[in-house]
Symmetry: C2
């Protein structure tokens, strides 16, 4: 019973419950209700499983799943930064690294190390797994905004070029999904829900 690993793990399980309170700017599909980070992370995990066949390269799916499930946990301390926010540099990397060390540090040392490394790998975006995880992270809000008459693009008056540049990251993970995403962006301009 006095399993110290388990006690640390239970503390971590309680701590990450806070992710359910971190609100994103994007709304659920066809909805006015903001998505929270836990819901978002679940959705990316489902998308990873379903869409992995379209990846540019063979993937270690388990690693991609770990990435998308944990990628926003640092926001428990560092908060959500809106991707089109022009008042910040959108680079709170230092704050996020401190958060990763504190929160993953609740776990037993070997797991803390693994999770911090996976989170850094996701942030760096160099490996195939990180590229695909990041493409999921950009694709979900694109689908949400197109289902919500432009969603955050309309709400915060974000131009086609800015959106296009942020979304092009999808191509690094999957050119098939990017072809589709690019067409959705074009359709959004035609429909008047994204301004060129």
């Amino acid at each position: 019973m006095e399993n110290s690993n388990l006690l640390q793990q239970v503390e971590f399980i309680k701590e990450i419950d806070k992710l359910k309170y971190i609100q994103r700017k994007t709304k659920l599909f066809n909805s006015d209700r903001c998505e929270n980070d836990a819901e978002h992370s679940w959705h990316l995990a489902m998308m990873t499983i379903i869409l992995a066949e379209h990846a540019n390269q063979a993937l270690d799916i388990l690693k991609v799943l770990k990435m998308v499930l944990i990628h926003d946990i640092v926001e428990i301390d560092a908060g959500d930064t809106f991707i089109y926010d022009t008042t910040k540099n959108h680079d709170n990397a230092e704050e996020e690294l401190l958060a990763a060390k504190r929160i993953f540090g609740i776990l037993p040392a070997n797991q803390a190390k693994e999770f911090i490394e996976i989170w850094v790998e996701f942030e760096d975006g160099f490996t195939e797994e990180a590229k695909f995880a990041r493409s999921m992270d950009r694709f979900e809000p694109l689908l949400q905004n197109t289902s919500n008459n432009g969603g955050t693009w309309a709400e915060f008056n974000v131009s086609y070029d800015k959106v296009y540049n942020k979304k092009k990251v999808i191509e690094k993970g999957s050119s098939t999904i990017w072809d589709y995403a690019e067409k959705l962006l074009g359709d959004s301009v035609e429909k008047g829900i994204l301004k060129k």
Copy 2:
């Protein structure tokens, strides 16, 4: 672009957004706010990754993750059934199977087949993966209720014996986690938040 698999997959991704609206009876940790099924599924996925080392047998972790991520999707059609509800038999298996066929049926045929099989395997609970996935599904609300002064046990006046019998399923997945859970149940009786 005319990738018909991708179009079906995107339809599925939109459909399962509805899981975020399915409210459970249990509340978030130290909270009055009900948890929804998407948040719950994310938490079980995190618990699976973190706690797999305590499993009774070696596991195919990727399969357990698929199980916990999809296990409640049928509730989009069939609704959440409270585990201690005595007015129903807690067996809406037929309704849930219809739901699985409709919702997973949105996917390309090979994926639909895989997901239905994984969901059935989880429900049956015979394989090591299903046993561990089910133990996670019982352990999370136990942790929530102990953090919430008894939570649904107190709210719905559920006795120690009933809780104990439902939670004993944890042992099939992990005797280590069950030892800990059993102690938490005993502590809850001592604290007066669970009635013997």
